[in-house]
Amino acid sequence: MACTYVLVCQNEDCKQRGSGELLDKLTDKLKSSADVEVKPYMCFGGCQAGPNIVLYPQRVWYAGVKREDVEDIAAHAEGGAPVERLTHGIEDSLKDLIYQLLDAGLF
């Protein structure tokens, strides 16, 4: 049973900015981690700041993620430190809404 979900937005904007590749790389990187599951997500609504990745239940939102950030995000998912430099650019009200939806099981 996975404990940490790495949710990678796969809607139009994020995808155009390479979130498909991020999903593949993270899936590959974390495939041997029993406690982590990488999943595509329909949309977090933070399209201007994408690609967006949310770690749940840690409630950490990474915006503007690039392929060179994959290592650090994977390390966080496996229990390492949060990647502070990627946690900006998303308004709190949107974060609250999305975290509530995730709490309700919407992923």
Partner: protein, 403 residues
């Protein structure tokens, strides 16, 4: 009636017949004043006062103005524009000509659903006939195909298409009446709206106000679907009761099925229940009942309909038809349909029920067009009126109380 002599489309009128019945006669009145006095409102769904829209276009300083007759009709279940263009093309064309004269426009476009082949031939013939007879004098009218996607019928999306771009709504303001096609004042009116113009100009605003209610003069064409004994398009005065439309005009549901729910104005309005049939068919009364009249597409659902399925279908429609340019709209429509799908399949917990209103509130008004506000009324009304069906689905993952 005002649009169809017998209140429904019965005869495909020719140019000669239209002229013989008083069509295309010289106009001595001030067209704009007459339309303002008539109280005519838009029939495409938003119900904006036509005289106000025209006044903005007429009063905005410009070297060109445009009329767009919006026949992009792609609302599920709506075919009123199609029957008007097929049966009374000259009534619509004269409405376009009068609108153009009222705002001093020299160019008009019929923005026509690309699948409406017969309308295309009827309208191009009508334009040719009227032009040959000298009724277009100084006004050029052409027909342009409208893509069959829902947002293509939105007024600013129609303008984008006519400018050669994809059908995506523009941010407003400016509104098209002030700055529309090629940045010039542009009146975008629905087919039915324009069809009301010649009778008003010919017979006067006072005559027009004899139909309907004081607040909402005139008639509206209501579309009844195949679930009814007598499906079709029917013109009725505002203020007619929903019961009159349902029982007397439509003949009730087929096979004497019992009525369960009503969607009185297309997929973006709130559901009503069978005990609300005595409501008056006018925008105000429908609003008071928490719903809306939209463009007059009526759907009646028989007992046995699964309202979870129906609501999901509507949510999926908006998710599919969101043009995708506004992040909030894309997120909202996707989320709402995903949550409903989860509930339908019984995958999730009761906390899902609390998420709908939060998502809707968070995103309200955050799109360029009205689509972002559309899934809310049907979903929230379905949850309120048929909550036990949703709860059953969530608990058991299937039909039960709704069967």
């Amino acid at each position: 009636m005002i649009l169809f002599p017998q209140g429904r489309p019965t005869h495909r009128e020719t140019f000669g017949e239209y002229c013989a019945a008083g069509g295309y006669q010289a106009v001595t009145k001030n067209i704009l004043d007459e339309i303002i006095a008539s109280g005519l409102t838009g029939r495409g769904g938003a119900g904006f006062p036509v005289g106000r829209k025209w006044s903005v276009a007429a009063e905005t300083d410009a070297d060109a103005r445009y009329i767009i007759c919006n026949a992009g009709e792609d609302e599920p279940g709506s075919f009123k524009d199609r029957v008007l263009l097929e049966y009374r093309p000259h009534l619509v064309l004269e409405g376009i000509i009068l609108a153009a004269r009222a705002i001093a426009a020299e160019r008009a476009y019929v923005y026509l659903n690309e699948t409406y082949d017969e309308c295309f031939s009827r309208m191009t013939t009508a334009i040719d006939d009227a032009k040959a007879a000298g009724y277009l004098r100084g006004i050029t009218v052409t027909v342009h195909p409208a893509p069959t996607v829902y947002v293509a019928g939105e007024d600013s999306a129609a303008i984008e298409v006519l400018e050669g771009k994809p059908p995506k709504p523009r941010q407003k303001p400016p509104y098209p009446a002030a700055a529309g096609l090629f940045g010039k004042p542009t009146v975008v009116n629905n087919v039915e709206t324009l069809a009301n113009v010649p009778p008003i100009v010919r017979n006067g605003a006072t005559w027009f106000r004899r139909f309907g209610t004081p607040e909402y003069p005139g008639t509206m064409i209501f579309c009844l679907g195949e679930e009814m004994r007598d499906p079709g398009a029917y013109e009725l005065p505002f203020g007619t009761t929903l019961r009159q439309l349902y029982e007397n005009v439509g003949g009730g549901l087929k096979d004497h099925q019992q009525l369960k729910a009503i969607l009185p104005g297309g997929p973006s309005c709130a559901f009503l229940t069978a005990d609300q049939l005595d409501i008056s068919l006018d925008p105000e009364s429908l609003n008071q009942a928490g719903s809306s009249l939209g463009c007059g597409v009526m759907r009646f659902y028989p007992e046995g309909t699964c309202m979870v399925d129906e609501t999901l279908r509507i949510a999926q429609f908006f998710a599919r038809e969101s043009c995708g340019q506004c992040p909030a709209c894309r997120m909202e429509t996707e989320m709402l349909s995903t949550i409903l799908e989860r509930i339908r399949q019984g995958k999730g917990d009761a906390a899902l029920f609390n998420q709908f209103q939060k998502i809707i509130d968070f995103n309200r008004g955050k799109g360029y067009c009205a689509l972002i506000n559309m899934p809310g009324p049907p979903i929230m009304s379905a949850l309120r009126l048929f909550g036990e069906e949703f709860e059953f689905h969530l608990q058991h993952g299937g039909h039960g109380s709704c069967e």
